[in-house]
């Protein structure tokens, strides 16, 4: 492990780094508060603020490039945020290669998706716009303004997450993006399915957030500080068990946010949100926060090989189940969502490999950010053309109708399946090589699973391509779900522009990033990337193996899907594996049986106990006293003579008692 670089105060453009998140935050505030006055120019402000952040990020990045690598780690303390006894937290920013990389990804891809959204969320357009007109809100102008406000809020929160120099700020951003994600998944408020999906995402994230919070508590309890530099400098003082507990709790947080096993099932449901949201939040940026968390806390993970094995295993399991389920869905967005789950599994696997993989995970995160965002935007363009339909069985032959979408989507597809010399080829192969480079059983398990999943990825993506863009034009004889005929058409330039830019990124990002030395750039934050030795398989062999596996996947998909006409109705019944994959490998059923049902029973039992037990005791006491008093009140007749009788009776009784005691 190399010594951590010296932390310097931020200078120049970096000294106003707080503007990075302040600009979108202010813009979000304006859009939230201005009301319908901002309808006309809300989207311009929304796009402009993110673009401004992006430009500032580029300036800071160029400035950082100009100094020596060991001087690139800088901090900017804004003010003392929490000062309470021994707990002192500064509102401080850490501007180093890792956070700058994320800033550029978030604001860069974010800007493109904001621009795309101007067209996608436009009022009175076909597709979503018309949809929103029909039953969402009286004016879809205001719904677009609300959309941009929430999207800006997300960008601001995400930037706080990656720029904070302590765990509390990280947590602030972490919850901020969770809120934005919740709001945007449930953006179509009139759809019960969207509201349910939003709630599901929120609740499952909560499980992960509890893990993150507990990890932060543990760190503070043991070290008394939450600032990264201080924590990382002193983390070695702790016992192995404590470190392992911290890493596992951090991993739980990462699993929640990044849709990793066992908390993966919210992410596909999150596709209920508008497609730009799926592209930005649930593919390119927010869901990679878990990878960022583990990469950022790499000094902690360096100390615990056991913790890293758990991380890698979670990644392996997730990338496999994501790829398997992706093969069975007919919903274009859900296939892409499970593809995201699977690709983030690769990243988690990479960061679980330790010093041999942190930078590779970030590398794949960047290339994935490009091509997956591009794929989602392409899917949005297809949906736009197809009356918001997402069922690929109703598509077919769209390549001729929407050439730009077809080409950009196709390039993203090639990048994802790892076509040689496109983005995914560089980043994914590097991860698989590093996975095979592990010693003993780990190398075989990680490597073979990752290779297998690469083949599955090729299969489901090829299936998606064929069903959407090739073959018979099945939509000609069908009605759309809204009862109209399909009229597929190419989207407007404001939408295709970002798609073209992202497609270019999908093609060249991998080559450029590895050529300019992303690994050396990240070294001050993540440590030097260790070349993994030839473990299970020699490195020279791995790319050929992966390529063969992917080619096999493409071939099988062509034979199974491409050569035969696609039935418009989903075939039933199907073999058990397909059935299982269609049902998310029973993940939802499992959650329902093991957690939800007992939870409901427990709630009912508690409600019963509360109503009958606790309330019964309190109310019973009151009712008893009240009833007793009502009966006693009858004795107070107001008749003097009856009082006199009771007095006499009482006196006689007392005298009799006295005599009885006296003479007994």
């Amino acid at each position: 492990m190399t010594a951590p670089p010296e932390v310097l105060p931020a200078t120049g453009a970096a000294s106003v780094a707080w503007l990075l998140f302040a600009i979108p935050a202010v813009s979000a505030l304006v859009l939230f508060l201005a009301g319908k006055r901002a309808n006309a120019w809300g989207h311009v402000l929304g796009v402009g603020s993110v673009l401004a952040s992006f430009l500032l990020g580029v300036v800071i990045f160029v400035q950082a490039l100009g100094v020596a690598p060991d001087q690139r780690t800088t901090e900017l303390s804004l003010y003392s945020w929490i000062s309470s006894g021994t707990l002192n937290v500064d509102f401080g920013l850490r501007i180093d290669p890792l956070s700058l990389t994320f800033v550029l990804l978030i604001t860069g891809v974010g800007s493109l998706i904001h621009i795309y959204s101007v067209g996608y969320m436009a009022p009175h357009a076909s597709g979503h716009g018309a949809d929103a007109d029909a039953h969402a809100e009286p004016s879809s102008d205001s719904s677009r303004r609300r959309f941009f406000a929430q999207l800006n809020l997300f960008v601001a929160a995400m930037l706080v997450l990656v720029l904070g120099n302590n765990f509390v700020l990280l947590y602030l951003g972490w919850e901020g993006v969770g809120l934005a994600s919740y709001l945007l998944i449930g953006f179509y408020q009139d759809r019960p399915s969207a509201a349910t999906a939003a709630k599901k995402a929120f609740l499952m994230n909560r499980v992960g957030d509890v893990g993150l919070a507990l990890a932060i508590f543990l760190i503070w309890l043991n070290l008394g500080t939450l600032q990264y530099t201080e924590v990382f400098a002193r983390i070695g003082e702790l016992s192995g068990g404590t470190i392992l507990a911290i890493t596992l709790l951090l991993l739980l947080g990462a699993c929640g946010k990044s849709g990793q096993f066992p908390l993966q099932s919210w992410l596909p449901d999150a596709m209920e949100g508008p497609t730009p949201v799926s592209a930005l939040i649930h593919a390119a940026t927010m869901v990679t926060a878990g990878v960022y968390l583990i990469a950022r806390t790499n000094p902690i993970y360096d100390l615990t090989p056991t913790g890293r094995v758990v991380v890698a295993l979670i990644g392996v399991v997730t990338l496999l189940i994501g790829a398997i389920i992706g093969c069975a869905y007919d919903d274009i967005k859900k296939v892409l969502a499970y593809s995201t789950v699977s690709q983030i599994g690769y990243m988690i696997l990479a960061v679980g490999l330790g010093p041999a993989g942190y930078a590779l995970g970030i590398f794949h995160l960047l290339t994935h950010g490009f091509f997956k965002a591009g794929l989602f935007l392409g899917a949005g363009s297809v949906m736009h053309a197809m009356n918001d339909d997402v069922n690929m069985r109703n598509f077919g032959g769209l390549g001729r109708k929407m050439p730009i979408t077809f080409v950009t989507f196709g390039l993203g597809y090639l990048a994802l399946i790892g076509f040689p010399f496109l983005s995914g080829y560089f980043s994914k192969d590097a991860i698989i090589e590093a996975a095979f480079g592990q010693e003993g059983w780990q190398g075989w398990v990680y490597g073979i699973t990752a290779t297998l999943a690469a083949g599955l990825t090729a299969f489901y993506m090829t299936r998606l391509m064929i069903m959407t863009f090739f073959g018979e034009e099945r939509w000609r004889n069908l009605k759309a779900p809204d009862g109209e005929d399909y009229h597929p058409h190419e989207s407007s330039p404001v939408m295709t522009g970002p798609m073209i830019v992202l497609a270019i990124g999908s093609v060249f990002a991998g080559f450029v990033l590895s050529a300019v030395g992303l690994n050396q750039w990240l070294a001050p934050s993540l440590g030097e990337l260790q070349e993994s030795p030839d473990g299970a398989l020699p490195h020279a062999l791995v790319p050929w193996l992966v390529l063969a596996c992917s080619a096999l996947g493409v071939l099988v998909a062509y034979l199974v899907v491409g050569r035969r006409p696609t039935p418009v109705q989903r075939p039933e019944p199907v073999s058990f594996p397909v059935q299982a994959a269609r049902r998310d490998l029973y993940a939802n059923a499992f959650n329902e049986t093991v957690i939800e049902r007992p939870g409901i029973w427990l709630t009912r039992a508690l409600v019963f106990l509360d109503n009958r037990g606790v309330d019964g005791l309190v109310n019973g006491l009151a009712a008893g006293l009240g009833g007793g008093s009502a009966r006693l009140r009858r004795l107070q007749t107001g008749f003097v003579r009856s009082y006199a009788l009771s007095m006499l009776g009482g006196s006689v009784f007392v005298v009799a008692a006295l005599l009885a005691v006296r003479f007994a």
Binding site: T637, G638, F639, V640, R641, A644, L645, L648
Partner: protein
């Protein structure tokens, strides 16, 4: 004459008074019955003083008379005011704290 006879008379008078208080409705009669009970007690006090050869009982009887005199003053005034407001001197009619 045996003192027992005086005590028996006292008991009889007290019983007559007590029953009168319980069964009669006219406030004046009830009032007089109370006086009867008080005087029955006076009689037994004096008898006991005689039997024990001490003056304590007789002193007590004087106290009772003083209290009874004061009680008559207040009691009659109350009965008067009840009669004025309700045109009735029945104790059963006066069964409300507020009228």
């Amino acid at each position: 004459m045996s003192p027992t006879n005086y005590l028996l008379l006292s008991a009889l008078l007290f019983t007559v008074g007590a029953i009168g208080v319980l069964v009669r409705r006219n406030a004046i009669v009830v009032f007089m019955c109370i006086e009867l009970m008080l005087n029955a007690v006076n009689l037994s006090l004096v008898t006991f003083a005689r039997m024990n050869g001490q003056l304590d009982g007789q002193v007590m009887a004087f106290f009772v008379m003083v209290v009874a005199a004061a009680e008559v003053v207040v009691g009659l005034a109350i009965i008067m005011s009840i009669f004025r407001t309700r045109r009735s001197s029945s104790v059963d009619d006066a069964n409300l704290l507020k009228y």
